[in-house]
Symmetry: C2
Subunit: 124 residues, 2 copies
DNA sequence: TTGACATATGCCGATATGGGAATGTAATGT
DNA sequence: ACATTACATTCCCATATCGGCATATGTCAA
């Protein structure tokens, strides 16, 4: 199997930086495709393709007005992402507390060998 | 150019559903790889590969203990995602307000032809 | 109708993927 | 030393991508 389609869900659609830019640009107001092209400095076909992906997962909505199509981001579709990330909020707060406690401990103990704690960590 | 590498940033890493499951599983406590394999019902090499991606973008940390490696999710690395999504919070609140207002208007007006408003919308 | 404008789509090539199977490597037990 | 355990890496393959370029579709204007 290959990587999941970009249109499989909001997570995949949003993985592409340009699509995130488009979403930000279209967050406040409706815009025709041409304005996105100018604003982000992308090729028109490229923008159309990105919009297609965003539309398929419900991240943007379109409205036709004469020969142009007005896009706007559907913020509601970003909520699941926000909520998934929020799931981890308590954990990063824990980590911050631990950092804080370590800092305080260092002050109290005069910064004596706190390294021994994680001496066996190995990173990338 | 092809799609950006999954290790290019947290957004890409998190696009894969299994990786999200792994992050959730490793959020509360350190776990050896074997437990992830059992808990999520994936093949061991598959888990190792996902962990590699997550490690490369800093979403998990490892610690060696004897012959096993203990992984835990680094919640801090999820914050950027959370904050990016939070950027749109005010907009989905706007939308909710509009829905609410429409609902109230319907009650007041006795639900007379509110369809004419968006008659020219065209969706997927 | 003809032409200009605004978007969308199709085809191409280069690349990265994720699963499966096999193999590599490091630490432990006997 | 050897077998076992716990992970990581490699190879192969089918697939989906994104960008560039050309082209199709659809709308308005003269």
């Amino acid at each position: 199997m290959a990587r999941a389609s970009t249109t499989s869900d909001a997570f995949n659609a949003v993985a592409e930086p340009r699509r995130r830019e488009i979403l930000s640009f279209l967050a406040g107001a409706e815009r025709p495709v041409g304005e996105i092209v100018d604003a982000l400095g992308l090729e028109q076909p490229s923008v159309s393709k990105h919009l297609r992906v965003l539309r398929d997962v419900g991240l943007v909505r379109v409205r036709c007005q004469g020969r142009q199509k007005l896009y706007r981001t559907n913020a509601e579709a970003i909520r699941p992402l926000h909520e998934w990330a929020a799931t981890f909020e308590r954990y990063w707060q824990h980590q911050l507390n631990r950092v804080k406690e370590r800092a305080e401990a260092m002050v109290r103990l005069g910064a004596k060998d706190l390294n021994s704690k994680n001496a066996n960590e190995k990173e990338k």
